[in-house]
């Protein structure tokens, strides 16, 4: 018998003994019923540390923000049920044949750093999953905590910078919302993380649609690349009850253009400096020969979810329908797009109407 929403959505214990799992993870581990539209398969478990006092940060767009209206507990569009960490591991051993990676996300909380290592060690000891940590730089000072994470079994680190410019970061995550986060500190921690985990082992999370131009977003992607990181893209989705619940989502054409630029930059096929932009900062030239660009678009990988890879080198963190309802056109394809998908993408790339 399925649980009632009120029974299952509220955290019932704290980390490290409990973690919240994404709806996709809860489905894959057979806590929730359901299958994925178009036969998508989850390849990475997304877990979130959880505390009764919640996250201390106040990010305007975030479902976990302490400034969010009470009674709202979704995050990135979906429920995240709290489950015993040991049970998650048990079930990942039983049901997680297609899983390749687990990602443990900190929230801004004094216990989060230590608890992340605790949860990582439990996974390392009992599973063969590769372990990512989505870290909260505000809780991290210097390289020592990052080295401890690595020692606990983490092989890759994600840093959710989210906003593409210092001004937007300050407005939505820093002083603008009385929040604790600082742009410069995030990038300092990124540099430390690259030196501890290695070039290409750190992913910067960026949310398209917080008010930046495509040019600004592409500039930040290039900056991350030049500092030895890669970029994982998200399309803004307004969370009910958040300070930005009334905001519009970015146009899908602009999102696909940024995905394409990211793919080119992160695969060292081109640079932001060689791309051209119109007066509204929209990409009009990707700086590649048209035949080369057509080949990349046709291949489709540029429009798949960007995230930490699995053992096969392909993206494991594929987050099916994390950015859109399944009834909508996909923004992050959790599988290789088919011919019709590519036709849709190609049409969207040429759409400069909004």
């Amino acid at each position: 018998m399925p649980m009632r929403r009120s029974d299952r959505a509220r955290p019932s214990g704290s980390s490290p003994d409990f973690v919240r799992t994404s709806t996709a993870a809860a489905m894959t581990l057979k806590y929730y019923p359901g299958k994925f539209h178009r036969g998508a398969k989850l390849k990475a478990l997304n877990l979130l540390l959880t505390y009764d006092s919640g996250c201390c940060a106040r990010c305007a767009y975030c479902g976990l923000s302490s400034s969010r209206a009470p009674q709202q507990d979704s995050f990135i569009r979906v429920d995240w049920p709290a489950i015993s960490t040991e049970e998650v591991i048990d079930r990942s051993l039983k049901h997680g044949r297609g899983l390749d990676r687990v990602c443990i996300s900190m929230i801004t909380h004094p216990k989060a750093l230590g608890d992340l290592n605790d949860v990582a060690r439990r996974f390392r000891e009992r599973t063969t999953l590769s372990i990512s940590a989505l870290i909260g730089p505000t809780m991290i000072k210097g390289k020592a905590p990052l080295q401890k994470m690595k020692d606990a079994g983490v092989d890759r680190v994600g840093i959710a910078v989210d906003a593409a410019t210092p001004g937007l970061f300050e407005k939505f995550r820093g002083k603008g919302v009385n929040g604790p986060h600082k742009w410069d500190h995030y990038w300092d921690v990124l540099d430390d993380a690259v030196s501890v985990f290695g070039r290409g082992m750190v992913g910067v999370h960026l949310i398209v649609g917080l008010g930046e131009t495509e040019k600004e977003m592409v500039g930040t992607i290039q900056m991350a690349r030049d500092r030895g990181a890669c970029t994982h893209l998200f399309s803004f989705y307004p969370e009910d009850g958040s300070a930005m619940e009334g905001w519009k989502r970015p146009p899908i054409g602009g999102y696909h253009r940024v995905q394409l630029a990211r793919h080119i930059i992160d695969n060292d096929q081109g640079r932001a400096d060689n791309m051209e932009f119109d007066r509204k900062g929209r990409i009009v030239d990707f700086g590649l020969a048209s035949s080369e660009l057509a080949r990349i678009i046709e291949e489709g990988e540029a429009f798949m979810t960007s995230g930490c890879p699995g053992k096969d080198g392909k993206v494991a963190c594929n987050r099916p329908y994390g950015n859109e309802r399944p009834s909508e056109k996909l923004r992050n394809y959790p599988f290789k797009p088919n011919k019709k998908d590519i036709r849709d993408v190609r049409a969207a790339l040429k759409d400069y109407s909004s």
């Binding site: 399925p2 709806t23 359901g34 299958k35 036969g39 399944p326 009834s327």
Partner: protein, 181 residues
Amino acid sequence: MGLVDVKMGGRGKAKRVANVKKGGRPRKATGASRTVKVGNLRFPLDRSYFTRKGAHIWLLPQKDGTVRIGMDSFLSHNAGYLNYIMLDKKSSVRRGGSLGSFESAKFVSKLFSPVSGTVVGVNEQVVRDPRRINRDPYGSWILAIRPGDIEKDMGSPEILGDEKAITKWIQEELENADEKI
């Protein structure tokens, strides 16, 4: 998927009367609350099932000549926790035609009509709170339809009401499913 249970309930209280291995022959049962149980799925035998691929719709004739329809437990399980039921505005439908769609956080599909006729009622409570279907798929009718020719629809091989046929159909559906339920 292992066992096929047949439950028989008298006066609202379910009682297990048979428990046979997959492919075996469930014991015959009588009464309005007979249920075929396959794995975790239930199929009450007081109604019929539209078995066209992807449909999984139950239909229950009413005394006033209308038919109430809803999602069976196989479909409500596969769909996941439902967020939306979106019904088409048209009033006239054909058997196998779309009545609208349903959507959960990770899945979306069409809702197929098991009969041809006219839509005469909508269960607004279910449309407003589709998770009622997850909690009680057989107590949560979605639409009421007045069939144009109920005899013809019920005679279709795509509509099953017989215990053995329903059991066989569900077993095949589970065997063809890409994931164990």
